[in-house]
């Protein structure tokens, strides 16, 4: 047990250790976050300049939504960086074999790497949330119950996002490179999850279609619960849907892992 704890703890810190070795990377990430938050605040205040309420939300709720959406999106920022330790780079270089030669196996390696990235980038997002709250850019949750529901929804959303990303990453066992798939996925998930624009501004057919997809569970659902767009009474249904997606995607990625493990043998000499 102690062995597993030490191993887990150590591997969870690897993404942070790697990021912190590059000062320019840290400064760029910080600047980018500040710039993004500043721009979306300016944009959405301009949108609301001539109206007090749009799509049932006032300017404060809208700004809170977009800032939170941005901060939630940045929790998984590590998966978007072209790191030498990303799964596609490991598969392309053949270094993935070492994941198969260690006592903890490739699935656990990936999980701990992904969790480590979430911890590192999530810490930045949490700090950003605290600063945005202190600066009065965003509103706090209306009550503890909503905060708890939003937190659980955020957690489930991260599980969904992890499984989706894993599915895309595992494609590289078949295609060797998955950079195009990653680009398509990043754009689609940003659009469909509500990271770009709150989903209620999209046409009805888009929303109907999106209900059958897992993406809105990653950002739109937890943030909507937080800002009151999804009432607490309805939140439990959304948590149920998120849980269902977690199970379905877990089954899909388990299937892909089983087949990917058999594919590793064809990657080079």
């Amino acid at each position: 047990m102690a062995i597993h704890a030490a191993r887990t703890r150590r591997l969870l810190t690897v993404p942070a250790l790697s990021e912190l070795t590059r000062r320019s990377g840290v400064v760029t990430a910080l600047l980018m976050a500040v710039l993004q938050v500043g721009l979306v605040c300016t944009l959405w205040r301009a949108v609301y300049a001539t109206t007090e309420v749009s799509a049932g939300l006032d300017v404060r709720q809208a700004v809170t939504y977009v800032v939170l959406a941005l901060l939630v999106q940045r929790i998984r920022w590590g998966s978007r960086l072209h790191s030498r330790e990303s799964l596609w780079a490991l598969v392309r270089d053949g270094r993935i074999i070492y994941w198969f030669l260690r006592p903890l196996g490739p699935r656990r390696h990936y999980l701990l790497k992904s969790l480590g990235e979430i911890l590192y980038w999530g810490t930045w997002s949490l700090a950003g949330y605290g600063i945005a709250l202190a600066a009065g850019l965003i509103s706090p949750p209306p009550d503890a119950r909503v905060a708890a529901l939003a937190a659980v929804s955020l957690l489930l959303g991260q599980v969904i996002a992890h499984q989706l990303m894993l599915g895309i990453d595992l494609l590289c066992f078949w295609t060797t490179a998955n950079t195009n798939a990653l680009r398509v996925y990043s754009f689609s998930s940003d659009l469909l999850s509500g990271a770009f624009v709150p989903l209620w501004f999209f046409p009805g057919w888009f929303l109907t279609l999106n209900q059958w997809l897992p993406f809105q569970g990653t950002i739109n659902v937890p943030v909507s619960i937080y800002v009151g767009r999804i009432p607490a009474a309805e939140a439990l249904v959304q948590l149920g849907i998120q849980t269902l997606w977690c199970c379905l995607l877990y089954a899909m990625t388990s299937f892909l892992w089983r087949h990917a493990i058999r594919r590793v043998d064809v990657q080079g000499g």
């Binding site: 591997l11 198969f100 058999r262 043998d265 000499g269």
Partner: protein
């Protein structure tokens, strides 16, 4: 746990085939391949059988594409055999990857297992926790590795800034950190300068002879073979074409020696019983003993024919011996002493 009585590695009629996509050349060919890719089955390993006893240092040799790396991947459990059976330390590698991981160490010379952005020492710390190595063992082993490989000079440098030789030395330490009984090394000295190569050879020799590890080494470097390997396993086109010691390989190639002689005065017609004269000038001759004829008998005859000013018996280079086997110049030899 290593089985005391059993072999360290035992492969029996091991085979592996892959289905590969073949592409035609040219734009039209590329379009055709895109729409309807042609696939064909290729046999990379074909009925390979051998045993490696605990503590042996075996060189796994073969030309490019012979199947060496695939064989190592099968022995380490990454690749599942299409046919045959394999046991490493008494375990079926692909079925018991997790347990076997504690008992084997692997270095693929061209691929590092170290974390690129972190100092090499940090990577070793991570591996210490992955393999659950106690702090005292960890420190002791690091000291031991540092003594031979001089790692402390650069182990606080991020891996991305290390030279190839420095990086491979750290990789060797990483592979042996958990004290594995069996070590697989795939071209560990590739691209190294002569000094570092010597350092690495010293390290491997020490690990095999003093630490008693079983080492299976693939290399194209004949100096590695001559200086390190107790036994050679030559594979070509996925088959074992030779399994034995370097001496057995020489013997199989008719002693593998050449006799060069310089005479004090011109010698007329030179005919030596049991040898072929392959080169001849007025004062010099080069002779190759016939199959089964010891070179000592040829030397005796030569010196009895005329006064000799110089005489050399040269062993064929390892490279030449191996090249002959690949070209089919020497019959496949059963393992010497097996």
């Amino acid at each position: 746990m290593q089985e005391d009585s059993g072999p360290a590695i035992h492969a029996e009629e091991l085979g592996r085939s892959f289905t590969v996509t073949t592409r035609k050349s040219g734009l039209l060919g590329a379009l055709r391949s895109l729409v309807r890719p042609a696939r064909e089955s290729r046999t990379v390993i074909n009925g390979v059988s051998f045993r490696v006893e605990p503590g042996e240092l075996v060189g796994l040799l073969g030309p490019n594409g012979a199947g060496k790396s695939t064989l190592v991947k099968m022995l380490t459990g990454i690749v599942v055999p299409s046919s045959g059976a394999v046991h490493v330390n008494g375990r079926v590698p692909h079925a018991e990857r997790g347990r076997l991981a504690q008992e084997i160490g692997v270095v693929f010379g061209q691929r590092t297992q170290l974390w690129w952005d972190l100092p090499a020492r940090e990577s070793l710390n991570i591996l210490r926790d992955i393999y659950a190595i106690s702090e005292s063992d960890y420190r002791r082993r690091l000291r031991e590795f540092d003594d031979v490989l001089a790692l402390a000079e650069f182990w606080n440098t991020p891996v991305r800034h290390l030279s190839l030789g420095q990086r491979v030395r750290c990789d060797l330490a990483a592979a042996l950190l958990h004290d594995p009984r069996i070590v697989f090394l795939d071209e560990p000295t590739i691209g190294m300068d002569v000094m570092v190569k010597e350092q690495v050879r010293d390290f491997l020799r020490y690990q095999a002879t003093v630490r008693g590890r079983t080492v299976l080494l693939t290399t194209h470097d004949t100096a590695d073979i001559a200086q390190l390997c107790d036994r050679l396993l030559l594979i070509d086109h996925g088959r074992v074409v030779f399994d034995g010691t370097l001496e057995a390989l020489r013997a199989a190639r008719d002693d593998g020696v050449t006799v060069r002689v310089a005479f004090a005065e011109p010698v007329g017609h030179l005919e030596i019983d049991g040898a072929v004269v392959v080169e001849r000038t007025e004062l010099r001759a080069t002779l190759v003993p016939a199959p089964g004829v010891p070179h000592g008998r040829v030397v005796q005859q030569v010196v009895s024919r005329a006064p000799v000013t110089d005489l050399r018996v040269e062993e064929s280079s390892v490279e030449a011996l191996i090249r002959d086997v690949y070209r089919g110049g020497s019959p496949a030899v059963a393992r010497a002493g097996a």
